[in-house]
Point group: C2
Chain length 108, copies 2
DNA sequence: AAACTATATCGTAATATTGCAATATTAAAT
DNA sequence: ATTTAATATTGCAATATTACGATATAGTTT
C-alpha cells in the first residue's frame, strides 16, 4: 500500500493528475512564475530567486521537466529552461471543459 | 526536513499550489469528472464508481473539500457533493495569465 | 591543465501521502 | 428501539516527497 493505483484510471486522468501534481508545490509555482516573468530563460538565477538549496531547486526543476511543464536546453555552461506552453494550454482546455459542462447543470 | 517550506512563498503561490496538489491524483480527477458528468450530486455512487475502498474515497473527498474544490452539504442520509466552480475558474484565470504573458516573450 | 561556474545526482533524514480494515457516527427505515 | 445505509474517522503499513550536504559532471576561463 501507499502507492497510487494509476493502472485503475485512464491515461488522460493520469496525465492531468501528473501535470497538476507537478504544480502542487509552491516552489514549483514560484519557478513557473519566474520563468514567465523573466525575459531570457537562463536558469542560473532560479537558485538565487528561491529560498531553497541548489540541490532542492534542481530536483524541483526535474519534476517540472518530467511532467512536461518546462523544457530545458543546454546552452553552453548554463541551461535554458522555459515553460512548455502546450502543457499549460492543456490544463486551460481541461478546466474550461469542466466549467462549460457545469453551466448545463442545475445542481448546487 | 521533509516538510514543505510554505512560509517562504506568497499566499497566492501557496493557494494555487494547494488547488493543484488536490488535483494531483488520478482518483481525485476521476471524482471531479464524475461530479461534472452526473446530474444530481449525491455521493453514494462515488464509492461504486471508483476502484478504491470506501475509506480511501472518503479521504480523497476530504482533500478536495479542504482545498476548496468541492462543496458538500448534508442531504439527510447522504451528502451532496459538487464542484466549487469558483476554484476551477481561479485556476483557469491563473493559467490563462501565464500563457498571455508568454505571448509577449520571444524566448524559446 | 587548473581553477571556476553551473547544474545534476546520491545518500539520507524528516515528513507526507496512499490505501485499507476496523470501527464510529448519524440519519432513515422498519 | 433496532436494524440498515451512508459516510467519516482511526490506526497502521507501504510508499513518496521534501530538503539538503556532499559529491559528481561538464563546460568556461585563465
Amino acid at each position: 500500500m501507499g502507492a497510487t493505483k494509476t493502472e485503475h484510471f485512464t491515461d488522460y486522468q493520469n496525465h492531468i493528475a501528473i501535470l497538476a501534481k507537478a504544480l502542487g508545490h509552491p516552489a514549483r509555482i514560484a519557478i513557473i512564475e519566474y520563468l514567465m516573468r523573466v525575459e531570457t530563460c537562463i536558469c542560473g538565477d532560479i537558485v538565487n530567486e528561491l529560498p531553497l538549496a541548489q540541490a532542492t531547486v534542481s530536483q524541483h526543476l526535474k519534476e517540472l521537466k518530467n511532467a512536461g511543464l518546462i523544457k530545458g536546453s543546454i546552452e553552453g555552461n548554463t541551461i535554458c529552461y522555459c515553460i512548455d506552453e502546450k502543457s499549460i494550454e492543456k490544463l486551460i482546455r481541461y478546466f474550461s471543459q469542466i466549467t462549460l459542462e457545469l453551466k448545463t447543470k442545475s445542481c448546487c
